[in-house]
């Protein structure tokens, strides 16, 4: 009896599999015919483009701007993946992802994938410039103007004391996955600060905003462009001028003295998979010409993350308001 039941089940499975295969074929047909809103012939030329969105709001902003442009003007079928920053290099090498629009200078991966194997192609700067630094709330800079430079913080460290920093002041470190050298910098500058890790960015934001809302002193690792900068008023702390051979990424360790300078400006890079770059897609030329300013990106990121506008809509809105720029990209 049991056997018969099993056989029945197998038959059902076989049936399901058979309909599944049929379903698969049909679904594909449907998706290819529904791709183009901007003309059937254009759709055939452009085809599918896979953009990778990184976890932060700025990346969501430029990815959806690109999506809107490619879909409306070239009739591309844009798919968005959300692979983490480092694995996405392998994804591009495999042709699974066509483009990353915002990469913060992963030099190790550039050496490996762009120079060595050539499976990823440098797409030039996005136009957005990243800058990392030490920040304090503006109310603090107003009441204690001397805190706007590291020399002024020296001697006043106890202002930043919290439960977990003991006798020292607290320096709230950045997301451990970001480029940073603050432990070394604190040592090199001889500051009586304790470097405290808050963890990933959302956790770090939670920490300093909790202090900001109570108008308490806080000193932390932060960067631009960032949509929170439109919501909270911050002031940057002046660090020593950049000098020849000064390093920013303490990943490699060594003498703290070599990190004794302000962070450099980071040129945000576009990257393409080799397959996509050489495949003759019209989308490639447009993405290659695509360029945004920090303000463009922050405004759209603020709409998405701050005002909770649907990213799809936020991207389209920007495109319709900035037709002149988009025309340039279209060539």
């Amino acid at each position: 009896m049991g056997n018969r039941r099993v056989r029945g089940l197998l038959a059902a499975l076989a049936l399901a599999a058979a309909t599944g295969v049929a379903a698969c074929g049909e679904a594909k047909e449907e998706s290819s015919s529904s791709g183009g809103s901007g003309g059937a012939s254009a759709a055939k030329d452009c085809g599918k483009v896979v953009l990778n969105e990184q976890a932060w709001a700025g990346s969501t902003a430029n990815t959806y701007i690109a999506k809107a442009v490619l879909e409306e003007n070239l009739g591309c079928d844009v798919e968005i993946t959300k692979v983490a920053e480092i694995p996405v290099f392998q994804a591009m090498a495999d042709g699974e992802v066509d483009a990353v629009l915002e990469d913060w200078q992963h030099t190790d991966e550039y050496a490996k994938y762009i120079k060595q194997s050539g499976t990823v192609v440098d797409g030039g700067p996005l136009g957005v410039e990243g800058h990392i630094g030490w920040f304090i709330p503006k109310y603090l800079a107003d009441s204690n103007p001397e805190l706007a430079s590291w020399e002024g913080i020296k001697g006043n460290e106890e202002l930043f004391k919290t439960a977990e920093s003991g006798d020292q002041g607290m320096f709230l470190g950045g997301d451990p996955s970001y480029v940073q050298k603050d432990k070394e910098l604190i040592k090199a500058l001889g500051l009586n600060l304790k470097h405290v890790t808050a963890g990933a960015e959302p956790a770090q934001v939670a920490r300093w905003t909790q202090l900001y809302k109570r108008e308490k002193p806080v000193l932390f690792y932060w960067y631009t462009p960032q949509f929170y900068n439109q919501q909270y008023e911050l002031a940057e702390v002046k660090l020593p001028e950049r000098s020849e051979g000064c390093e920013d990424d303490a990943k490699s360790g060594g003498d703290p003295a070599q990190y004794r300078c302000a962070y450099d400006v980071t040129v945000i890079q576009k990257l393409f998979s080799k397959e996509f770059a050489e495949g003759g897609s019209p989308a490639y030329d447009v993405l290659k010409r695509m360029s945004l300013t920090n303000d463009d990106q922050e405004a759209v990121a603020k709409a998405i993350a701050g005002d909770k506008v649907d990213p799809e809509k936020a991207g389209k809105d920007w495109v319709s308001e900035n037709q002149a720029k988009v025309k340039e990209w279209l060539g």
């Binding site: 679904a27 994804a91 991966e109 451990p176 890790t197 990933a200 939670a206 993350a305």
Partner: protein, 667 residues
């Protein structure tokens, strides 16, 4: 059938009372000696550089580089051909499942799920499945939910296809079982973050990579529980069948497998639960679905991340109840059907299949979409079809309250957080980090000897030594201090609540959905409120570990206390003991082994959250593992993961308690 860890099922309760009772004084003495060593030699003996193998991370990095070269080489290794084949299979399975569910339209998919579960698991299970589908639809998360469902089904099918045969093998051969157990332990304790990058190199990104990373975590329970089931078949039955001339294969197919049926179904159930707990991580390497919504939401829309987390819980609970109900209802031992009854059953099945076909047909004919829509359109009006916006607004208002530093609750939680850091976490960290390393190793080994015996003591010493040699002594001691504090809190709360639940069935019933939620809600999600409420590093991580470990401890304690022989309780009552006395003098002491098992399991589960802790400021080993993926410091990440594994084994041995051995499953 609870959402319990596979390890628990594989471990036993009720071994003879160990000699633990006489030992507290000796353990106390060891701790005192440790304190004295710390006071005298504080900071003088950090782990010596001479005993550190500094080249290890670099070696591991070059191993990864070699893999990458092999992968991109012109003439590929045979092994890579095999990997590629597996990748194609997994990719095909996920896309096919997704396409089938899409082809059936949302109405057809929901009807199929509800009717099939209803047919085989009863109307209550069917109703739960219906409620789950309704929840996905109303949350506006239909598409990611179905993507996740397809991913899970594929991962579970493949996990069972590998895990069950291995489990049968391990169940029949003690040698295989011994050889495979440490591998399974490692698969479950090593954080997924550590092996994401190698998986991406071998399998690229996408559904296949997500399935494989899920399988690494979901295969172990399948193997363990299947093996347990096979071993649980009484030897007499097996001997009888052999005596009657059955071949080994016949014995397996006709005797062992049918008799182990309940355990086999439990292993299906547990494999699903374990697979679901990796959804969020799988999202990082292109897994799509709810995991994606959670990780991206954390950065730009925390309310949406929470909503997606709830959808994962709904899916977990529905799948758990559905598989449990199906296991129960289709159990031949419980059904005494006549031939007529069987025939009727088959007819009902056919009718159900027919009904599904008709519904799918109608839905397709009327152009019902693949995914549940955001709005319904009529000729004149557009109606919103989901309540996503109001749900998000409600969650957001809770988050706003939590984020308000002037709120009442913050006034309570912030001092608690500060207290934990100042008076528990920091002193313990300083102690463990600054005590002379040899004293720490000797002391922990001595405690392991007193509590568990000689072999565990040696293991503890070897594991701690390995941590030092790998060059991560300090972060490992930092992590250990957090694990100890979290375990202490979890055990104290777990025993109190567990005993309470054992005394009152009503409390236990009320707790059940809460415990299920805590075990299946991704930790990244429930940690969100605590990063606002207790804004001090390490505390949110400790809270997350406590919440994760608590359900298992509560369940073990409840089961242990309730299973105390009624005769002992009656005897005590007959002698005039009050209820409190019975509890304190009879039930709890007799349930000591179950409670110790709770401590042991709690420690291991706390350790599993270390990496998540790294993401919210716990630093130490968790930080290094997370960074291994995010900044491609692969070698360092693997070393930190191995240290977590070594720490896990050491803490397991310290808390194992003597005399416990693999027996049956706690009933």
């Amino acid at each position: 059938m609870a959402v319990a860890s596979g390890r628990i099922a594989a471990r036993a309760i009720g071994a003879p009372a160990g000699p633990w009772r006489g030992r507290p004084a000796q353990v106390g003495l060891v701790l005192l000696a440790l304190l004295a060593a710390f006071a005298l030699l504080r900071g003088d003996f950090p782990w010596p550089a001479a005993l550190t193998w500094g080249a290890l991370p670099g070696r591991l990095d070059s191993l990864q580089g070699w893999l990458l070269d092999q992968r991109t080489a012109e003439d590929r290794n045979v092994i890579f051909a095999l990997f590629n084949g597996f990748r194609a299979l997994a990719d095909w399975l996920v896309t096919t499942l997704t396409d089938v569910l899409g082809w059936m339209t949302w109405a057809g998919t929901a009807a199929a799920g509800v009717l099939l579960v209803g047919r085989f698991g009863g109307w209550r299970a069917g109703a739960i499945v219906l409620a789950a589908f309704a929840a996905f639809a109303l949350m506006g998360l239909w598409e990611p939910s179905v993507q996740t469902l397809a991913l899970m089904l594929a991962a579970v099918l493949l996990s069972l296809a590998i895990g069950m045969p291995l489990g049968v093998w391990a169940g029949r051969s003690p040698r295989v079982h011994r050889a495979i157990t440490p591998v399974l332990d490692a698969m479950q304790i090593v954080p997924a973050f550590a092996y994401l990058m190698p998986i991406v190199i071998l399998f690229s990104v996408g559904p296949a990579a997500a399935v494989i990373c899920t399988m690494i975590y979901a295969v172990p329970p399948a193997v363990r529980i299947t093996a347990l089931g096979i071993r649980g078949v009484t030897p007499a039955t097996v001997e009888a069948s052999q005596a009657l001339g059955a071949t080994p294969l016949q014995t397996l197919l006709k005797v062992q497998l049918p008799l182990a049926r309940r355990q086999l179904l439990l292993s299906v159930n547990q494999t699903i639960m374990f697979a679901l707990s990796l959804v969020v991580i799988a999202g990082l390497i292109g897994g799509r679905g709810l995991g994606d919504v959670v990780t991206n939401g954390l950065y730009s829309n925390a309310a949406l991340a929470l909503l997606a987390g709830l959808a994962i819980v709904v899916m977990a609970i529905a799948l758990d109840r559905a598989t449990a109900a199906i296991a129960e209802r289709t159990d031949p031992a419980r059904r005494h059907l006549t031939d007529a009854g069987r025939r009727r059953g088959r007819l009902v099945t056919l009718a159900v299949l027919g009904a599904i076909a008709v519904i799918v047909g109608i839905a397709r004919a009327f152009g019902v979409e693949a995914d549940y829509p955001d709005e319904f359109e009529t000729a004149t009006f557009v109606y919103p079809a989901t309540i996503e916006d109001s749900l998000l607004a409600a969650i957001q208002s809770v988050l706003d309250y939590v984020q308000d530093p002037t709120s009442l609750i913050f006034g309570i939680t912030e001092p608690i957080g500060n207290f934990l850091v100042q008076y528990a976490l920091e002193p313990l960290r300083v102690w463990l980090v600054q005590a002379p390393w040899f004293a720490t190793i000797a002391g922990l080994a001595a405690i392991a000897f007193l509590v568990s015996g000689l072999r565990p003591a040696i293991t503890v010493a070897v594991m701690l030594g390995a941590i030092g040699v790998m060059g991560v002594w300090e972060p490992a001691m930092d992590t250990a201090s957090q694990v100890l504090v979290a375990t202490a809190i979890a055990v104290a709360l777990g025993i109190a609540i567990g005993v309470w639940a054992a005394e009152s069935p009503r409390v236990e019933r009320a707790l059940r959905p809460l415990l299920d939620t805590l075990q299946t809600l991704p930790q990244l999600v429930y940690i969100i409120p605590f990063i606002y409420l207790m804004p001090v590093s390490r505390v949110p991580g400790v809270v997350a570990s406590v919440l994760y470990a608590l359900p298992v401890i509560i369940r073990l304690v409840t089961a242990g206390v309730r299973d105390v022989a009624p005769a002992a309780v009656e005897a005590a009552s007959a002698f005039g003991a009050t209820r409190g006395q019975v509890l304190a003098k009879v039930k709890v002491p007799l349930a000591r082994d179950a409670i110790m098992l709770g401590v042991n399991q709690g420690t291991i589960m706390v350790l599993a959250v270390v990496v998540i802790g790294g993401l919210v400021g716990s630093g130490a080993l968790g930080d290094e593992v997370a960074r291994g993926l995010q900044r491609n410091e692969f070698g360092q990440g693997v070393v930190a993961s191995l240290a977590i594994l070594a720490l896990g084994i050491a803490l397991d041995r310290v808390t194992q308690s003597r005399g416990r051995r693999v027996r049956g499953q706690p009933s």
